[in-house]
């Protein structure tokens, strides 16, 4: 049984349909990438899975349970945590307080403040600073740490590389290994195709709200991805 499965998932912003009958399956313990051009619906997909955008109950099934209709605060309690696009740290909270916010999911597990500081040692020295005082890369680490503090079974990462220097992106993706080693399932949304494919075992390519391609990353065909990505 898949950990996460969507059945003909459609999502709307008012009258505008952003996703069309998406079928995605993510197995327990794997890392899956979702790629696609700007506006393909990647972020909408993650936000729908996280409950921030409502959908039909049966359209999102997590661990055998229909969750499409649940609000975000109930979804995260079931074990789906989100690292939102643009980090979205709470500006009036310190770094440590931001991390502790992750514990409001009331889930127990391997991730504690201590473990997060071991994963991102730099955050320990910065823990009493207000979140906006951090650099982009440090903020991204804090946002990942905050997601981990929820001890999720499924971690949704939206554009981890956005606006960061290549060397910082490399550091952050290295840490992803430590996260999946705990058995956490990860769904990565990225515009940076190479980065996403290196880190994942399978990928889905979205195009204008529709699923254009789904394949294992191991022996992917570059031309097929390009075609699916740009809709050629």
């Amino acid at each position: 049984m898949s950990l996460l499965r969507t059945h003909n998932l459609s999502a709307f912003y008012g009258d505008f349909q952003a996703l069309f009958e998406i079928n995605v399956a993510v197995e327990d313990g794997e890392t899956v990438a979702i790629i696609g051009a700007n506006g393909a619906g990647k972020t909408t997909f993650l936000r729908t899975v996280a409950g921030a955008i409502a959908s039909a109950a049966e359209a999102v099934v997590f661990d055998g349970k229909a969750v499409g209709h649940l609000p975000p605060h109930e979804i995260v309690r079931l074990g789906i945590a989100m690292v939102p696009e643009g980090r979205r740290l709470f500006p009036s909270l310190t770094v440590e307080e931001n991390l502790l916010l992750g514990t409001h999911s009331e889930r127990k597990g391997p991730w504690t403040l201590k473990r997060v500081y071991e994963l991102f040692p730099r955050l320990y020295d910065l823990r009493h600073l207000p979140a906006p005082a951090l650099s982009g890369g440090q903020q991204q680490m804090a946002a990942i740490g905050r997601g981990l503090m929820a001890n999720p079974r499924l971690l949704l990462c939206d554009e981890l590389s956005l606006g960061l220097a290549p060397v910082v992106i490399r550091d952050i993706y290295q840490c992803l290994g430590a996260i999946t080693a705990e058995g956490t399932t990860v769904v990565l949304v990225e515009q940076d195709i190479n980065r996403a494919l290196d880190a994942s075992v399978r990928f889905y390519c979205f195009q204008e709200g529709r699923l254009a391609l789904a394949a294992p990353t191991a022996n992917f065909d570059r031309a097929a991805i390009t075609a699916a990505y740009f809709g050629l």
Binding site: P71, H73, V76, P91, E97, L101, H104, S105, R146
Partner: protein
């Protein structure tokens, strides 16, 4: 009467205004709710105190044991049942709905109690005073109210900056959408916030009822004073609200010393002056 005396009396009066303003400051700070009914809720709390003292024989201070939980429950229910559904539609719906609540409370009180003046009797403490060296007399009661205001703000600061619940309040104030992704049920939290705000509204109402006579239509004036204290101090800062109350009280005391007719006007003028010089208040959004 020296200027020092005027400053002290005005400052103590400011404690009262700060106490009026805490609930307003809190509900704006956390859920951006401009509660037009705030003044009427203060007056309602005084009437609840009146009912409790008359029916049980408790003195007004002791009546707080009942008034505070009643107002907490009312705040929780009001937010959960009514105000939460107004928060997603911009600034106007909560304004209109709380304006409606204000009218309902005023007319409900008129219906139930008539337009008569009422007062809560606390006995000797109301008129007791303390003589400082230099011949300045300080009323024990205004001093008590000031101390209560300071303790109230200090305890809220502890709540906000030292507890898990306070952290959730600040996170929701920053970014409700992301807070919800972290597992915070913002609707429940908002209900709790208005409940807690009403605890301080209850205290303000009963202390107000002991200090002066009150009538069903006394709310809007309290609302304006509370607004002015909040805005002088800077939105979102509780210590700022205390300072705002003191500025207002001192301005009124100075006005009254010049000419008794100027007391209220002087407070409003100070408010306008600060609004012109520092439109966002003295301590906007401080992180103390």
């Amino acid at each position: 009467m020296g200027w020092l005396n005027i400053l002290i009396q005005g400052g103590l009066l400011g404690g009262f205004y700060a106490l009026f303003a805490i609930g307003l400051s809190m509900s704006f700070g956390i859920m951006r709710l401009v509660n037009i009914a705030h003044g009427d809720l203060i007056v309602l709390a005084a009437y609840v105190g009146l009912i409790v003292t008359q029916s049980t024989g408790l003195d007004p201070f002791a009546s707080l044991l009942i008034v505070v939980p009643v107002m907490f429950a009312l705040g929780y229910a009001l937010q959960r049942g009514l105000l939460n559904s107004t928060l997603s539609g911009g600034l106007l719906p909560p304004l209109l709905v709380t304006f409606g609540i204000s009218i309902i409370i005023q007319n409900g009180l008129l219906q139930g109690f008539g337009a008569y003046d009422h007062r809560l009797q606390e006995g000797a403490i109301e008129t007791a005073s303390l003589r400082l060296p230099g011949g300045i007399d300080i009323g024990i009661y205004p001093l008590l109210v000031f101390v209560v205001a300071v303790l109230a703000i200090a305890s809220l600061q502890l709540l906000f900056y030292r507890t898990r619940l306070g952290r959730a309040f600040r996170a929701v104030s920053d970014d409700p959408g992301t807070a919800e992704l972290m597992g915070i049920d913002d609707r429940k939290l908002y209900a709790l916030a208005l409940g807690i705000a009403m605890v301080f509204t209850a205290i303000a109402g009963v202390l107000f009822g002991i200090r002066t006579i009150f009538a069903p239509l006394a709310g809007p004036i309290r609302l304006i004073l509370a607004f002015e204290a909040v805005i002088i101090g800077g939105l979102g800062s509780l210590w700022g609200t205390l300072i705002g109350g003191v500025v207002l009280g001192v301005a009124q005391a100075i006005g009254a010393a010049l000419d008794p007719n100027w007391q209220i006007l002087a407070g409003h003028l100070a408010f306008l002056a600060i609004l012109i010089v520092r439109p966002s208040g003295l301590f906007p959004r401080t992180r103390d």
